[in-house]
């Protein structure tokens, strides 16, 4: 266990800058997730920490050990790093049994054979795979392979644990179970962990902190709540959870922590502004989570508190089991929300609480799709 410090990490593939000056500090025992779409640089960052790729610049150190330092030319080969890495493909060796797979790192470390056996049994018990020690990987299900891959990594007590989309090859139901199991395991082990995923639910439910990456750069670092409730930019807002974006213009100076935004069709919405200043006349984008938008029935009064009521046109409605998914058009922009009852008419009245909206400067081309 140790803290991981990544400073100004840069990796190029030819002309393409895959990782662009990324700095991350992971505290001892912390569980940090690198989250982003494919090609955002998260796996490249992980490979650089594991030593599988030689970066072009920056510095990586774990505990007191420098893994890589471009300035001094230090580059520890992967075998000298003592990292644990679980691959997306699990990478179990097909010619070895589960036991042989798990014991391999201990053999390399010249652990005495009696202790080897004990520790393999122990770690297989930990991942609940004890009865399968004599099986070959192809005789196991995806979920079981994943547990063996984890056992093979935990058995040698790595300094840090790196997980590269370990759940992405499982089917949806199994993935939920594995996620819960992984969450229990992580609290029990308390290892410094870097977890790479493009799945926001995994990221939100497992992590102490999330690093959202986009185009080789860090878009935002923060706790799951931070990232979800206070996204730093439209990309993060769009990537984490479903977000509706409404283009508009600031009318009137911010007053009492509130700004008044005029949508494209002239309707006006009040939003709470914190530190962000909204200059009158500037173009802005309003972002709302679907669950923050309420439907106000015909003739019903708006809920108490600060907020605005706007009218939107219904474009589509689809029953998705227990709820309705409603597609709306608000001032020329698309809007999606889920309701318990289908909207009755062509129009709905929406309640936009002032505290729920997030204001971004400028127009954005991020659509809610």
């Amino acid at each position: 266990m140790a803290e991981l410090v990544i400073e100004n990490l840069t990796k190029r593939f030819g002309e393409v800058v895959a990782v662009d000056s990324v700095s991350i500090h992971v505290a001892d025992g912390e569980f940090v997730t690198l989250l982003g779409p494919s090609g955002c640089g998260k796996s490249t960052t992980l490979a650089a920490v594991a030593g599988l790729d030689r970066p072009d610049g920056g510095r990586i150190s774990v505990g007191g050990t420098v893994y890589f330092d471009e300035r001094t030319g230090t580059f520890l080969p992967p075998e000298a790093r003592n990292c644990g890495l679980v691959f997306q493909s699990y990478a179990l060796w097909p010619h070895m049994t589960v036991f042989d797979n798990v014991v391999f790192p201990l053999t390399l470390r010249k652990v005495p054979s009696a202790e080897r056996k004990r520790r393999v049994e122990e770690v297989l018990a930990l991942v609940e795979m004890e009865p399968y020690a004599d099986r070959y990987p192809h005789q196991l299900s995806g979920g079981q392979q994943q547990r063996v891959a984890l056992a093979r990594t935990l058995v040698y007590r790595p300094e840090i644990l790196l997980l590269d989309e370990p759940l992405s090859n499982l089917d949806a139901k199994l993935r939920d179970r594995a996620r819960t199991w992984l969450a229990e395991l992580r609290t029990r082990l308390g290892l410094t962990t870097i977890y790479v995923t493009h799945d926001q639910i995994e990221a939100l439910s497992l992590s102490d902190r999330i690093v959202v990456m986009n185009g080789g750069r860090i878009a935002q670092i923060g706790t799951p709540q931070d990232i979800y409730e206070r996204p730093a930019d439209p990309f993060v807002a769009d990537f984490i959870g479903t977000t509706n974006f409404l283009p508009g213009r600031v009318v009137g100076a911010p007053d009492g922590g509130q700004a008044l935004i005029e949508l494209e069709d002239g309707q006006r919405v009040a939003v709470q502004v914190e530190r962000r200043t909204a200059a009158p006349g500037s173009r802005v984008t309003l972002a709302y989570r679907p669950e923050q938008i309420g439907v106000v029935a015909e003739g019903e009064a708006a809920p108490d508190g600060a907020g605005s009521v706007v009218t939107a046109r219904v474009i589509s409605r689809a029953y998705v089991g227990g709820r309705w998914q409603v597609g709306l058009d608000l001032g020329g922009g698309p809007l999606r929300l889920e309701t318990a009852r289908p909207p009755s008419g062509e129009q709905v009245r929406l309640w936009l609480p002032a505290a729920g909206g997030i204001l971004f400067q400028g127009s954005t081309d991020v659509s809610s799709e």
Binding site: G51, P94, Y156
Partner: protein, 577 residues
């Protein structure tokens, strides 16, 4: 449970012992060995071609006189012309036969198409030398069928002692190459292309002609260049049939000038070899270019679905009879009659076979220590040499495809370069290398020089068997081992090489067969005591011992048949998953 958890998350382990220093010597050593092996025959040839006297003489001076001398050598123009005509004719015959076979056996409802296709491939497993003797036994001047023909008609319409006759033998033995390329191209071409043509109203033969054949063109073109190259390098057929008739091609020119002549002219031989090397280098480069194009053509659909076969209709049985006759005449007869000849004291259509059956040829063969030794040597060279070569090829493959070795691209290039070195040139080259290097004199009269030369020749062949499988092994598997603390060499030994076992077995089998039938390089290098079957065959042939030739050839055919059958059985067994 909690106890286990604490233990798993306990104090980190000591780091594994670092062995990273092993990586560099292994990689540089393999690369250097490969480079020396490939350069060993080439440098002496090139050097000999530009000096004025034999390599082992003192007082050599650099000169270009050899080239002028070669150009003005009487009859050299005719040699080049013969070589060209022979190769071109061979290629045309091989391509036509191979393409027809691929379409008929692979894409139509001809009866017993699979069996015919299998038989069609047979010549590729045998050495051209054995095939030549087979053809001689059947179609030679006193051959079985020739005599049968003579008893009914006037003189036969064939004559093997001509360029077309030689090209016919060579064409039949190289047709499998065209067949294999066309078949693999046909199986990965999208069958819907043909179905579309048929749906739009094209008949069987129009579809074949307008759609199937044009789609095969890249494969035909590529294998044509390949076959042209191989026929340029062919020594056996011109040696057996061309030399007695006074038809010399480049390979027999090299053989007579380089080693077999009374007073070998090394300058001339080396210059001819250098010329040949240049031509073949160009052809191999052309193959590479064409292959690039082929890939662009062929990977259209990529589904391994078996297309619906064409219906031959009324032509089904007539075409079958023609194909069966062809297989009988060109594959079964030469091999079969040769084997029968081995078990007979005399073979003639006039004498009943039962009266002449005997094992005399074999007893006589093994009474002569030279020939018994030749068989034994062939086994040792193939078994031990094949193993050594497989080990080297495995090392080259893991370094080229699975390491961060700085020179892995150059190593890849060097390892594949022997493709461009004809067997006769390698033979001449190693012959000079022994003369040039004082240290090599020790192995001169042993079979080890053959092991070295054969290994050099067949690195690309073995590499071709190993590399595709290696590239299918997910790199995550070795990365996982590296991250867990195994250095590069441990990863190779414990993970990559065990996973490559089926490919290594395949490589070993291919090398065993190749070494067992190799003769071209050997006839330049063997010495008393280091004969192999190929050189003994030629020796017996020159003495006119037809029965012993047949017996020795039958041994080669038998061993290779067993190997091919065993390999089939072994490759059927897959490793886990």
């Amino acid at each position: 449970m909690s106890g286990a958890a604490v233990s798993a998350a306990g104090a980190p382990e000591a780091r594994p012992a670092a062995h990273s220093w092993r990586e560099a010597p292994i990689q540089y050593g393999t690369a250097l060995l490969t480079l020396v092996l490939v350069a060993a025959p080439l440098l002496p040839v090139l050097y000999q071609s530009v000096v004025d006297r034999p390599l082992y003489d003192a007082g050599k001076e650099l000169t270009l006189a050899n080239f002028a001398r070669l150009a003005s050598t009487e009859g050299f123009g005719l040699v080049l012309w013969n070589t060209f005509v022979f190769s071109a004719l061979t290629t045309v015959i091989a391509q036509v036969l191979g393409t027809l076979a691929a379409v008929l056996f692979g894409r139509t409802d001809m009866p017993a198409a699979r069996v015919l296709g299998e038989l069609f491939l047979w010549p590729i497993y045998l050495s051209a030398l054995v095939l030549s003797f087979g053809w001689y036994t059947v179609y030679g001047p006193s051959g079985y069928l020739t005599m049968l023909w003579n008893s009914v008609f006037e003189a036969p319409f064939w004559d093997l002692y001509t360029l077309p006759g030689m090209a016919a033998i060579a064409g039949v033995s190289l047709a499998p190459v065209a067949y294999i390329y066309c078949m693999s191209s046909a199986t990965i071409t999208d069958p819907s292309l043909e179905e579309a043509a048929r749906v739009s109203g094209a008949g069987t033969f129009r579809t074949l002609w307008r759609i199937t054949l044009p789609l095969l063109m890249p494969a035909i073109a590529y294998s044509a260049v390949l076959n042209f190259t191989v026929s340029l390098e062919l020594l056996a057929i011109p040696l057996v049939f061309g030399e007695p008739a006074g038809i010399t091609v480049l390979t027999t020119f090299l053989y007579t000038q380089g080693v077999a002549g009374v007073r070998p002219d090394h300058g001339l031989a080396a210059t001819a070899a250098a010329l040949m090397l240049a031509v073949v280098c160009f052809l191999v480069w052309l193959q590479g270019r064409l292959l690039g194009n082929t890939r662009r053509f062929v990977t259209l659909g990529g589904k391994a679905t078996r297309p619906r076969p064409f219906r031959l209709g009324r032509l089904r049985w007539p075409l079958f009879i023609i194909c069966a006759l062809y297989i009988a005449a060109t594959v079964l007869a030469p091999i079969g009659v040769l084997v029968i000849r081995a078990f007979a004291s005399f073979l003639s259509p006039m004498v009943p076979l039962l009266e002449v059956l005997s094992l005399e040829n074999f007893t006589q063969l093994f009474e002569e220590p030279i020939y018994a030794r030749a068989v034994w040597n062939s086994f040792v060279v193939s078994a031990v040499g094949g193993a050594i070569a497989t080990a080297l090829i495995a090392m080259i493959a893991v370094i080229v495809h699975r390491s961060e070795f700085r020179f892995r691209e150059p190593l890849h290039y060097v390892a594949l370069f022997p493709r461009a070195v004809p067997g006769v040139v390698a033979g001449v080259g190693f012959f000079y290398a022994i003369a040039l290097m004082p240290g090599l004199g020790e192995i001169r009269n042993t079979i080890w020089i053959l092991v070295i030369a054969f290994t050099m020749r067949y690195i690309p062949t073995g590499f071709g068997a190993v590399a595709p499988m290696l590239m299918q092994v997910s790199p995550d598997l070795d990365r996982a081992a590296r991250v867990q603390g195994a250095d590069w060499w441990t990863t190779c030994r414990r993970i990559i090489l065990p996973l490559m076992r089926p490919a290594l077995v395949a490589c070993y089998t291919i090398l065993f067969i190749s070494f067992f039938k190799e003769y071209t390089t050997a006839i330049f290098l063997f010495a008393p005591g280091s004969e192999v079957i190929g050189t003994a065959l030629l020796h017996l042939w020159i003495q006119g011992e037809a029965g012993l030739v047949a017996a020795l050839a039958a041994i080669q055919v038998g061993v290779i048949a067993v190997c091919v059958a065993a390999a089939r059985a072994v490759f059927g067994v897959r490793l886990h998953g």
